[in-house]
């Protein structure tokens, strides 16, 4: 049998080589939905980090007790609980952001990234590795969200993190970028670009 990667490998792999968005193409709905500005994207990434970290750690702790046919249920239960917690925290302490993200926070429950990490890593390896994996993957996820959000926010509103970077006097916003078509087009082209770069590197 192949040996399981170490904590460090897990951490590093999650960022680029196994990037959940550009490489594994998992959990694309929020990637498209919340990337019309950086703030929302980063909040989303934070929420994913929290849920993934908690779920990975908890699953890893109870991995000895899992029955094969029931493990997915346990994962779901764990994930759904943590997502509810994040959601309520946002509603309590970042009310406006919570309103802006709307249903996409609860949709983390069905985000395949988390369940696949529980399955691939947490249910097989120890807490330490699982945590490293969660952080690595979350950083990878955050980088991906940031790349898309940067393009969309700057072109779509002339701003970055809410600060104006392209002066309104000369810049006409490309409104389409913050609307649904812009999300698809930006991600599609960025994905093409990453494919091109990695092919070239080889």
């Amino acid at each position: 049998m192949t040996t399981q990667p170490t904590a460090q490998e897990r951490f590093l792999q999650g960022i680029i080589p196994e990037n959940p968005v550009y490489r594994q193409l998992l959990g694309l709905c929020p990637v498209l939905a919340v990337t019309n500005n950086m703030k929302a994207a980063m909040t989303m990434a934070g929420a994913v980090l929290f849920v993934l970290l908690c779920a990975n750690v908890l699953v890893s702790l109870i991995r000895g007790l899992l029955k094969p046919h029931l493990r997915i249920v346990v994962f779901t239960l764990v994930i759904a609980t943590f997502v509810t917690i994040v959601d309520k925290f946002l509603a309590a302490y970042m009310y406006n952001m919570s309103k802006a993200l709307g249903p996409y926070i609860p949709l983390i429950i069905v985000n395949c990234i988390i369940i696949s990490r529980c399955e691939i890593c947490a249910s097989k390896q120890n807490v330490f590795v699982a945590a490293a994996d969660a952080i690595g993957i979350s950083i990878g996820y955050a980088i991906s969200l940031a790349s898309i959000a940067t393009v969309r926010e700057i072109l779509g509103t002339g701003m970055f993190f809410g600060f104006r970077v392209l002066p309104a006097s000369v810049w006409q916003d490309w409104v389409i970028m913050v609307l649904p078509p812009g999300a698809f087009l930006t991600f599609g082209l960025l994905l093409g670009a990453t494919n091109w770069f990695s092919a070239k590197k080889k």
């Binding site: 006409q172 916003d173 490309w174 409104v175 389409i176 970028m177 078509p181």
Partner: protein, 316 residues
């Protein structure tokens, strides 16, 4: 014996000498009446618009094919059509940067990413136009068409479709037919569109099924709408000559690449385009729906092709 190197190839060894380039040049010829009308009504605005789009479309085609490492494909003239049709579908007032972005998007995202000529699913010009229309809605929405400061009178008026939708002002049929109204520079003259369009159909460059079925569908729906509620709806003639209907039906919906290949498919396509145009004109937030109707039906075209495979000769 012969001085030549003998050539071998597969049959047939004759061809009717129609080439892609000739087809495309025929389209450009058919656009001449429309261009003349545009120049007549919009003067240098039209010249500027078409020239900017044409040049940037050609440049984009050259640039992107080069980036792909392919031979330059300017000589097939299809990029020129994209440029001209795009220019004609923009308002006289659209600033230069809008035209340039539209051309680049049209050629880049509308065409080259799919593999260039013949491979694209969506009409490149309409992809470009939709992109800028959604991006710069204030410049290309109805408000954008009006420019009080313009030195050409018609540009300071509201577009007829919009005037009707907003204020219920009945357009003059005479003006709609000949074209001295505001609007996208190529669409205003129904007469010019008809002349060019009929030339296209006679030359078999465009299939007559598409414009015909679009026009008939539009007539049917607008007649129904008018009969149900004459007070609030434009007449059949208004729908037919107003907006971009004829321009779209003859020059845009007929793009062979993005419309179905079989006769039956073309009829279905036309009925679809006509129906969506009327749905959007009657109910949507926009005064006009040609562009969206064409894009939506382009998307369905592969399915239409798939579902209208003709029965082979003798097949039961």
């Amino acid at each position: 014996m012969s001085d030549n190197v003998i050539q071998v190839s597969s049959s047939p060894h004759l061809s009717n000498n129609v080439t892609t380039k000739k087809v495309m040049i025929d389209v450009l010829i058919s656009l001449i009446p429309v261009l003349l009308a545009a120049l007549y009504f919009f003067r240098f605005y039209a010249l500027k618009q078409v020239a900017v789009c044409l040049v940037s479309a050609l440049f984009a085609e050259w640039l992107f094919t080069k980036m792909r490492g392919r031979k330059a494909s300017l000589s097939d003239c299809s990029a020129a059509i994209t440029g001209v049709i795009l220019g004609l579908s923009l308002p006289a007032t659209a600033p230069i940067f809008v035209s340039v972005i539209a051309s680049f998007v049209a050629i880049g995202i509308g065409k080259i990413v799919f593999g260039g000529l013949g491979m694209n699913i969506f009409n490149p010009a309409m992809v470009g136009r939709a992109f800028v229309m959604i991006s710069f809605a204030s410049l290309l929405g109805a408000g954008g068409y009006k420019d009080m400061g313009a030195c050409i009178d018609i540009i300071s008026r509201a577009t007829p479709m919009d005037a009707f939708k907003q204020a219920g002002i009945e357009p003059s049929m005479f003006a709609l037919f000949f074209g001295n109204t505001n609007g996208s520079i190529g669409e205003t003259s129904a007469l010019a569109c008809l002349i060019g369009g009929i030339y296209l159909c006679i030359k078999r460059v465009a299939s007559w099924e598409i414009p015909l079925s679009i026009i008939i569908t539009t007539i049917v729906w607008s007649a129904i709408a008018y009969l149900v509620n004459p007070a609030e709806n434009l007449t059949v003639m208004g729908h037919l000559f107003g907006g971009a209907l004829l321009f779209g039906a003859f020059f845009i919906a007929t793009d062979p690449v993005t419309s179905p290949i079989t006769k039956k498919g073309k009829l279905i396509f036309g009925v679809g385009v006509g129906s969506i145009i009327m749905l959007l004109r009657l109910f949507s937030g926009y005064p006009e729906g040609v562009m969206f109707a064409v894009l939506l039906m382009n998307a369905i075209t592969p399915l239409i092709n798939n579902w209208t495979i003709p029965k082979a000769f003798g097949e039961k």
